[in-house]
Symmetry: C2
Subunit: 153 residues, 2 copies
């Protein structure tokens, strides 16, 4: 988890037309450092004492989305997971896989999902794919304790 240079972060913010502030730099840093999509709370936890107010994190994420720096990756248990936009293409994010056994959600960044075929009258700008089933850790449940350490990423 290498910590990206501060100057890079500032540059990113400016390129998105955003003012550079402490909450924004730290939140963006946390997002970039994370292995996968994260929730507001996970960001706050990762930042520990440096974490901005919950409301600020939400508003910051909103600003990032507006500036196309960040994506809403998926919704799980009524909470949003966010991730840096550069990990996705414009037209579709990589599929997200939720394991029905351990509850973990993985990003299938390597998977190439075909775009939906055209439907008369509709203009499809973005496609989101969620998969469910058994993850590698739970596939052979006999000698696995994947259930004990649920974690998203």
């Amino acid at each position: 988890m290498p910590e990206p240079e501060l100057d890079q972060i500032r540059q990113l913010l400016k390129s998105g037309g955003l003012r550079v502030t402490t909450p924004r730099t730290t939140v963006l840093q946390a997002l970039l450092a994370a292995a996968g999509p994260v929730t507001q709370e996970q960001i706050a936890q990762a930042l520990g004492k440096k974490a901005p107010n919950k409301v600020t994190i939400y508003r910051t994420l909103e600003a990032f989305i507006e500036a196309d720096l960040v994506h809403r990756a998926f919704l799980k248990d009524r909470t949003w997971y966010f991730e840096p936009a550069h990990r996705c293409s414009q037209e579709q994010c990589h599929p997200h896989f939720s394991c029905t056994r351990c509850g973990r959600t993985d990003c299938l960044t390597e998977m190439k999902m075909p775009m939906a075929p055209p439907v008369a009258g509709y203009i499809v700008q973005h496609q989101r794919v969620q998969l469910e089933g058994l993850c590698p850790r739970c596939k052979a449940p006999l000698h696995s304790s994947a259930v004990d350490i649920p974690k998203t990423g």
Copy 2:
């Protein structure tokens, strides 16, 4: 919107191993009568004075899902939309299209979305596809007032 026979409904419930009660028959009736996926609140509204308690509707829907009579179709604005399971295949529900302009969500029942290609180590049991873009009503916004009458279904 033809009202399905009560006996048919009872049969459906019994075939799912569920006890036949008034709340269950009315809720199932509302689901079958609806043109598309509906929320708990929409069910309650559709049933008017006959509507069971909110908690009961949720528990009823849960029981229906357990019995494979009903699906969670999609999540929108943090609320679930439910729909009868017979409108979906086991492996994947039809894609749902949300219009970014008018907010309406349509079921693309006619669309055949290919299943995700296999990924090493994962067993994909179910796939959910959400599409975003412009719906036919909003595609040519100049002579349309689709925005004024948002409605799901």
